[in-house]
Symmetry: C2
Subunit: 244 residues, 2 copies
DNA sequence: TCAAAGCAAGTGTGATCACAAATCAATAAT
DNA sequence: ATTATTGATTTGTGATCACACTTGCTTTGA
């Protein structure tokens, strides 16, 4: 009887430590790679090796190969005929393709969210906006990582309110695919006298606060289009120079 | 020297057998499971075991677990907290969610395709339509599998013409997710005096042939909405009966 | 000097094993 | 008769090994 009590107690403790289903190593590796991809820590065309990543993440090859396989099916990575895997290179077509898909799907998501966001959710994204302002206030060091993270939080806090369990994973896949490109654009922004992202986000917030789905969609499109069009012109310039 | 010649010959033979990158077992298992899922061979809420599938497909557990992982990230399968995996159950919300996403994305894809399909592509889908008619002509046996396959070929031949490498994988993911539901609907159709699917497809073809994107989109929406609304009413009836 | 053959290191893939957690069955206790 | 406990089977996960293929470099031959 006492043994049972102890076990029961252990169960309770375990439940607190891991509320639902202990996190597996594979999942840890997977989200680690996801973060790296969305954050643009890998550059386009970079090839990844299973054993290399396994060493870097201090595990065996097993969880890594499974995580890579999952990322490949999401098109976040690309399987070459050599059976090696790399992060997809940037091309003009792919850039336009990605932007069009993001406008379509994220636009729909925010339109849905506009009708469903309560004061609670509005407050949350305003908080994120506030953190952004703080960061900009002490701009002595350009914390690109934090910038990316806050931007991601802002957008996904909105998308979470759209109430669609189907659209959200698709948006995540799109971010995974455009992550490496975006990072390049952000660096380019820094050099080319960047426009304040916060003002775009503010327009989105006011649109959402007034439940104006149409305006929210347009503001969002303007926001996510910026780095794409920027990168696009840059790529075209490079292409033109190559041709001479 | 002769050894080299023999090797060269072997290479030539191998090249004919596998033009580019030998197909791996994992890929075979993956596409096998995909076909089964889209075809609705698994029923909603059914749980799948790695060793069970490995036995059924006559391989080790290795390729199966990798394929399952990939299908889980596509939301074609669901990972339970028990760490077991099942095909997602049907709910009213999920049904509406899936249909909305399919209308959004497949609608966009066909609108894009309308401007890009040449006589060659039109001829291809008309051929598929012809095969459908043949099948219906000798309707002595209801070949649901063939019906599903032809329907899939028809739609994806169109989507392939949209020219978007981003949208197509998303559509595949959506078909993967709605596959199990659709099969249920098709069976229900068979019992409830089915409407001819071919007439919906014919409207789509004429719209595409005249490059009428708007009409093509509307016809497509009508086509893919049918099984969903049918299943929806059926589910509601069941829910109402459960409540009494 | 240069090209081709050969070798060696590295890589992905599949199979197998070890282990922990979960599931189920049967037994025991109330 | 019903519930709780124990034990056995099954299952997912991670590690390791074996093998085939690729890649890059060295060495050999012209």
């Amino acid at each position: 009887m006492q043994k049972a009590a102890i076990e029961k107690n252990n169960e309770a403790i375990a439940a607190q430590l891991a509320p639902v289903g202990r996190e597996t190593v594979q999942d840890r590796v997977y989200s680690e790679l996801r973060r790296a991809l969305i954050g643009g820590l890998f550059e386009p065309s970079q090839v990844l090796t299973i054993r290399g990543l396994a060493d870097a993440l201090v595990t065996s090859t097993m969880p890594v190969r499974e995580a890579l396989g999952r990322l490949i099916t999401e098109k976040a990575l690309e399987a070459l005929p050599n059976r090696s895997v790399r992060v997809p290179p940037i091309t003009l077509e792919r850039l336009d393709d990605l932007l069009r898909a993001r406008i379509l799907i994220e636009g729909e998501a925010i339109a849905l969210a506009a009708a469903r966001m309560g004061p609670r959710q509005i407050a949350t994204i305003e908080t994120i906006l506030g953190e952004w302002d703080e960061m900009r206030a002490l701009k002595h060091k350009k914390d690109v990582d934090r910038e990316v993270t806050l931007n991601q939080s802002f957008h996904f806090e909105i998308y979470r309110s759209c109430g669609s369990a189907v659209l959200i994973p698709m948006i995540e896949s799109l971010w995974l695919q455009s992550g490496p490109c975006i990072r390049v654009a952000i660096y380019a922004f820094s050099e080319a006298g960047e426009v304040d992202t916060a003002q775009y986000h503010r327009r989105i917030v006011t649109a959402l606060a007034t439940q104006d789905a149409q305006s929210a969609r347009e503001s969002l499109v303007a926001d996510i289009s910026r780095p794409f069009t920027f990168l696009r012109s840059k790529l075209q310039a490079v292409a033109a120079k190559d041709q001479t």
